[in-house]
């Protein structure tokens, strides 16, 4: 029991943006410029440093350099995704990559240029930057928009939908402050979800004190997936999980070393094994897992012998994006020129900026619920977005929302009813029964690790294990309603574990449905270890009558896709 007394604040807005990360901030800027009326951006933390780019980012990984065209990027992403991608989404994104890059530079991002004033590229798709301050630059852009109001430190938990003229449309959202006992009931004409992907589903590499030293933001819980799915929106390709290849322990990026100083992946015997397996992201991890399984590990990026200048540049590059790596090198004295850097795969994530998981959207980034849009890591079908792709999607979604708001006949809907208050209050009223949000989270991560293809099983799963995972996660879901909260910070964590459990449920059904191994590591199905032509299609899902229903959809080709039941 706690003495927290909740009060409710009501807000009316034209456009609501949930999540002020990369995509959400950019959409807010573009909607602000479009004069669509009132825009409210709600962010769980503070937009200056929230989301994936809190620490910074080393490079812009999606850019079309001279001699290439947007379709080249589509083909690259299609090959990397083994065909399970949306051409319309990839193309519309790719066409804007360079424009948003230039816009970032105009906002103050430092981009390396050569003597002719051209961006210096790393490969044909990457530009070199100082990406430490992208988030503050985007936040500055948001705050400069007079029509945009920012509500920081407010966590949205549920969407509110309504049947209007025979269709279920979005009408708003509800959430609470993570600092004060205040509930926010928000009525909106259109809603953009930009809450990012889901981390923390599986037991992480460092399960103890450094449990949050993970690749993806541990504060991205899959909230958008969960609230969208619960509201009836269709999801796609969750089974295309993402696993990153990282520096061991610090979980710092490896691409900077591999591409920056040309370091190769070697096993303990010094053999360059990357040649055997290939160099796409899943192949790099697959090779590392296989070498370890064969007893040839540990595996390394061969940095021993690099020059002192190269080493100094690495120290600085890591301070701009993953400071723990530089600290580890200096503190241990085992700097990269003296000792090669050990590497490992992370636990799996569901993240639409890297793989194709997320909301099933039309070309304008509207979900299957009219008025509800999705952009960035929460939107599916369009992998390899990275930072610039997320910006491009935020911009596309903003344009579609502006057009939707323009066409929408406002004011003829019935009054919006909000019903979350008692559910929130219940967590302050129940008696503490020794089951905590942390305990449930730990149990979930253990189940996913052991039964749904985590690090524990070298990312492999089979039907027998997945069926057990389903049963055990369902069992944990039953505990959430009666978790006790002392304050709003506890309530936040209870809702985060609730979201993650639902994302796990969706993921398990997707893994069961794709009876093949389409992608090594990301979807390593031990019952069906090969690709099958029968599965050259999307695995989608919806919540229907409280059950997760799987829908198979044929591959979308061409430049445009509309929802069939629009």
């Amino acid at each position: 029991m706690s003495d927290v007394k909740l009060i409710t604040k009501k807000i009316r807005t034209d456009a609501l943006i949930i999540g002020g990360g990369t995509a959400g901030c950019y959409a807010a800027i573009r909607l602000g410029e479009a004069s669509v009326g009132k825009i409210l951006l709600v962010e769980k933390a503070g937009i200056e440093r929230s989301g994936c780019l809190a620490a910074g980012v080393n490079a812009l990984n999606a850019y079309i350099s001279k001699g290439h065209v947007p379709m080249d990027y589509v083909e690259y992403a299609r090959a990397d995704g083994e065909g399970i991608v949306r051409e319309d989404l990839l193309l519309s994104m790719s066409e804007r990559l360079n424009k948003v890059t230039e816009d970032l530079e105009n906002r103050g991002l430092v981009i390396l240029k050569d003597e002719n004033g051209e961006y210096v590229t790393r490969g044909w798709r990457n530009v070199k930057i100082n990406g430490e301050n992208i988030k503050p630059l985007l936040a500055e852009g948001v705050y400069a928009q007079p029509d945009v109001t920012v509500l920081n430190h407010v966590n949205i938990t549920d969407l509110v939908t309504q049947r209007v003229h025979g269709k279920t449309i979005v009408r708003g959202a509800v959430g609470f402050s993570v600092k004060e006992p205040v509930i926010y009931e928000i009525e909106a004409e259109a809603v953009l979800i930009a809450t990012g992907g889901a981390a923390g589903l599986y037991r992480p590499n460092n399960p103890g004190f450094s449990r949050h030293k993970m690749w993806y933001s541990p504060f991205n819980t899959g909230a958008g997936f969960a609230m969208g799915f619960a509201a009836g929106a269709e999801m796609t390709t969750f089974e295309n999980r993402f696993v990153a290849l990282r520096c061991k322990d610090t979980i710092a990026p490896t691409g900077t070393i591999a591409q920056g100083v040309g370091a190769k992946q070697i096993n303990a015997g010094g053999e360059i094994y990357e040649k055997e397996y290939g160099i796409t992201t899943p192949q790099r991890i697959y090779g590392t897992v296989e070498e370890n399984r064969k007893g040839k590990g540990p595996c390394y990026l061969k940095t021993e012998g690099i020059s002192k200048e190269q080493e100094q540049d690495l120290f600085k590059a890591y301070l701009n994006m993953a400071p723990s790596q530089t600290l580890k090198w200096i503190e241990s004295g085992k700097t990269p020129s003296r000792q090669s850097v050990e590497i490992e795969g992370t636990e799996p994530y569901v993240v639409g900026g890297h793989t194709a998981s997320g909301f099933w959207v039309d070309t304008g980034r509207m979900t299957t619920i009219p008025g509800l849009f999705a952009a960035g890591d929460v939107a599916g079908g369009s992998p390899q977005k990275y930072v610039t792709g997320a910006l491009a999607e935020g911009e596309i979604a903003a344009e579609s929302m502006a057009s939707y708001l323009d066409k929408k006949e406002k004011g003829d809907e019935p009054e919006v009813e909000f019903s979350q208050e008692s559910a929130y209050a219940h967590h302050f009223e129940v008696k503490d029964n020794n089951i905590t949000w942390r305990g449930v989270e730990e149990a979930m991560q253990k189940i996913m690790d052991e039964y749904a293809g985590g690090i524990h099983t070298d990312y492999r799963y089979n039907e027998s294990r997945l069926v057990l995972a389903r049963e055990k996660i369902k069992d944990l879901q039953g505990l959430v309603d009666d978790l006790a909260a002392e304050d709003m910070f506890d309530l936040l964590h209870i809702y985060e574990v609730r979201e993650r459990l639902l994302v796990c449920r969706i993921l398990i059904e997707h893994l069961l449905a794709r009876k093949e191994t389409r992608w090594h590591i990301f979807g390593e199905n031990a019952d069906y270890p090969q690709q099958s032509d029968e599965y050259k299609k999307y695995v989608n899902s919806r919540l229907e009558n409280g059950e997760i229903r799987i829908i198979f959809r044929q591959l979308v080709k061409g430049e445009s896709y509309e929802h069939p039941d629009k």
């Binding site: 070199k128 949050h212 723990s324 530089t326 600290l327 503190e331």
Partner: protein, 103 residues
């Protein structure tokens, strides 16, 4: 890995509290405090908003930490990252925010 607050340096301005992407920081008795050190992502956002260099970044023993702490001292466009070794030695790496990464 996490951060700790040097309470002698902290002036309780609260800027780090707004910056933390995990809502982990709060004011306790007029000073910043981290609610759950294990839940820190290690992004160093809070350190960049501290005018007093009161926030100290460290690696847990599970990541190889052996007692060193890292602080940031800002000087116009330069971030001076200072690594204070347990033996008393301090190593400084200066990063100019106007320079792009070489890699």
């Amino acid at each position: 890995m996490s951060i700790r607050i040097n309470k002698e340096k902290c002036v309780g301005c609260g800027r780090c509290i707004d910056a933390c992407p995990g809502n982990l920081l709060e004011l306790a008795e007029g000073k910043a405090d981290i609610r759950i050190p294990e839940d820190c992502w290690g992004c160093t956002s809070c350190m960049k908003y501290c005018s007093q260099s009161a926030l100290e970044y460290y690696l847990g023993a599970d990541l190889g930490g052996r007692g060193a702490v890292m602080t940031i001292e800002k000087e116009k466009d330069i971030y001076n990252w200072k690594i204070h070794m347990p033996g008393g030695e301090t190593k400084v790496i200066s990063v100019n925010r106007k320079n792009a990464n070489q890699y």
